[in-house]
């Protein structure tokens, strides 16, 4: 009884490591092939050089942007905006989500609106934000929050409503009530759903942020680098900024959300059907 259980654990961990290495190798190969195709298209001269620079020219532009400090400062500002906007989204989204659970009629009504607003294009908030708040950081934050808060709200609401009743009954039976029931049962039981919502909310927030930075010009930020690139027809700079934007999104998803998701799935045993 004891042995198969333990050996299975060890085997699972080994498999994880092997897959990681294979993944890294295939990712590297993918990037090399992509750069190769790009270089070939550049050498064939299909597009004029202003429209499509070579990978090397983009690399040079990336180095320039880094060495004069623009890129690091812009990235820092963009990430700070993301952090503030997204944190506010989580606080508001979870808060309203909980209120929706508590007050059922409000929850029902709010849910139907939230579902609609969740798919509302984030860029469509920009003109409203500019006139309401102005061409400043707060305007950008407003767009970020409006774009991501509804995913988090919906996932909090549905996550808590879909908790298997047996957990709550069992906790009640052992004397859990009020805050303790919420903190130690409802919240952890809703975590898998919450992670999905937060992950999706993050992705919406990131989309909205870069878009808003391009349109609500505050003279700093990754989105601003893109719009400056467009104004000066500086394609290498545009592509360099795109690469940075892509990398940030990729790193967050891979290193933060995937790992978080994986940990919860491991503990809950939600991966069993794929791992066995």
């Amino acid at each position: 009884m004891q042995l198969p259980f333990q050996s299975k654990q060890v085997q699972l961990r080994k498999n994880h490591r092997k897959i990681d290495f294979k993944d890294a190798a295939s990712t590297a190969a993918f990037i090399v092939i992509f750069l190769g195709i790009w270089e070939v298209i550049f050498l064939l001269g299909i597009f004029p050089i202003v429209s499509l620079p070579s990978p090397l020219m983009v690399a040079q532009s990336l180095i320039d942007l880094i060495s004069d400090g623009t890129l690091i400062y812009s990235t820092a500002v963009t990430l700070l905006r993301l952090f503030i906007g997204f944190s506010a989204s989580i606080i508001i989204g979870v808060g309203v989500g909980l209120a929706m659970v508590k007050f059922r009629q409000f929850g029902k009504t709010m849910n139907s609106f939230a579902v609609g607003l969740q798919s509302f294009p984030s860029i469509a908030w920009v003109p409203f934000a500019i006139l309401l708040i102005g061409l400043n950081d707060s305007g950008i934050l407003f767009v970020v929050i409006m774009s991501s808060v509804f995913s988090i709200m919906i996932s909090t609401y549905s996550g808590i409503r879909n908790i298997p009743p047996i957990y709550v009954r069992s906790a009640h039976n052992m004397g859990a009530k009020g805050i303790s029931l919420f903190r130690h049962v409802m919240l952890p039981a809703a975590t898998p759903s919450l992670i999905v919502g937060i992950r999706q909310g993050w992705s919406f927030a990131w989309h909205a942020l870069v878009g808003a930075e391009m349109l609500i010009t505050t003279l700093v930020g990754l989105g601003y680098i893109l719009s400056v690139g467009r104004e000066f027809s500086n394609m290498p700079q545009i592509i360099a900024a795109m690469i940075v934007i892509f990398t940030i999104g990729w790193i967050f998803d891979r290193l933060v959300f995937s790992k978080l998701d994986e940990r919860v799935r491991d503990r809950w045993g939600l991966n069993q059907h794929t791992e066995r």
Binding site: M1, Q2, I166, N173, M174, G175, H184, V185
Partner: protein, 273 residues
């Protein structure tokens, strides 16, 4: 249970004149209990059987304080109880362990609710895990356990709270026959060691007769106790034993009789309630 102990045991639980109706969506009300009355002595092992839908689980929920829409009283040690309390702990059929906690944390959960200090919790939890033979599995995640192991943890979690009454809601129904047998004998050993009062709901007649000091047959149509069987045979009991077989067939006859009266159960469904 020896006769000596039975003589001196006071009544620990009195389910007094319970009535409850089931209200369907189309405003059809159906009585589940109609003045059901049951007294249980301290340390007694009582099994409750009846066909599905006769309210066995509902009765446990009422005793546990999880179901409050009924009339009548639940009296524990001469005091009427209105809500849930750690002196009446339910062990559910489906797995009610928390998947976000590991095995030992699951047991500690109840202890924290009971206000046990942090340093004490781990020791107590490990003690009870040891009692059910799972001391090596404290760090395991819940999904890594087999069905039988999960129920052992549930039992450990319940016992750690030192309840006066254990309420078991078909706890072994989802297990295979071998696991079921070993858990039954383990439960008897624990009952012997701790002398807990146990109210055990099952739809398996053999199980009910092998475990209980008394077997209570609930009847859906009457909403009351249909009949009570006293099993005055020392444990561990053997199904092959003639005295046991007699009681099992007596229970079976009673169920058959009521099903013929109702003309709603065939012989096959009657024996498999």
């Amino acid at each position: 249970m020896s006769g000596k102990e039975q003589r001196i045991s006071p009544i620990i639980l009195h389910i007094k004149n319970i009535s409850k109706e089931y209200k369907g969506s189309d405003s059809i009300t159906q009585p589940i209990f109609d003045g059901l009355d049951l007294k249980i002595k301290e340390g007694e092992f009582v099994t409750i059987i009846g066909k599905s839908g006769c309210g066995k689980s509902t009765l446990l929920n009422i005793v546990a304080g999880l179901d409050k829409s009924f009339s009548g009283e639940v009296i524990v040690e001469d005091k009427p109880v209105k809500s849930t309390s750690q002196d009446r702990i339910v062990i559910f059929q489906e797995n009610a362990l928390f998947p976000w906690l590991n095995v030992v944390q699951n047991i500690e959960f109840g202890l924290r609710q009971a206000g046990v200090r942090k340093e004490r919790r781990r020791d107590l939890a490990m003690n009870y895990l040891n009692m059910v033979g799972l001391s090596d599995f404290g760090d395991a995640n819940v999904h890594e356990l087999s069905g039988g192991m999960k129920q052992r943890v549930s039992i450990a979690r319940a016992l750690s709270l030192d309840p006066k009454i254990l309420l078991m809601d078909e706890p072994f129904a989802a297990l295979d026959i071998h696991t079921r047998q070993s858990l039954c004998s383990e439960l008897l050993r624990i009952h012997d060691e701790t002398n807990k009062t146990i109210l055990f709901v099952t739809h398996n007649i053999d199980e009910a007769v092998l475990l209980g000091d008394r077997v209570i047959l609930l009847s859906h149509s009457v909403g009351k106790i249909k009949r009570e069987f006293t099993v005055n045979i020392p444990r561990p009991r053997d199904l092959e034993d003639v005295a046991i077989r007699d009681i099992v067939s007596e229970v079976m006859d009673e169920i058959m009789e009521s099903s013929y009266e109702n003309k709603e159960l065939s012989y096959a469904t009657a024996i498999s309630i």
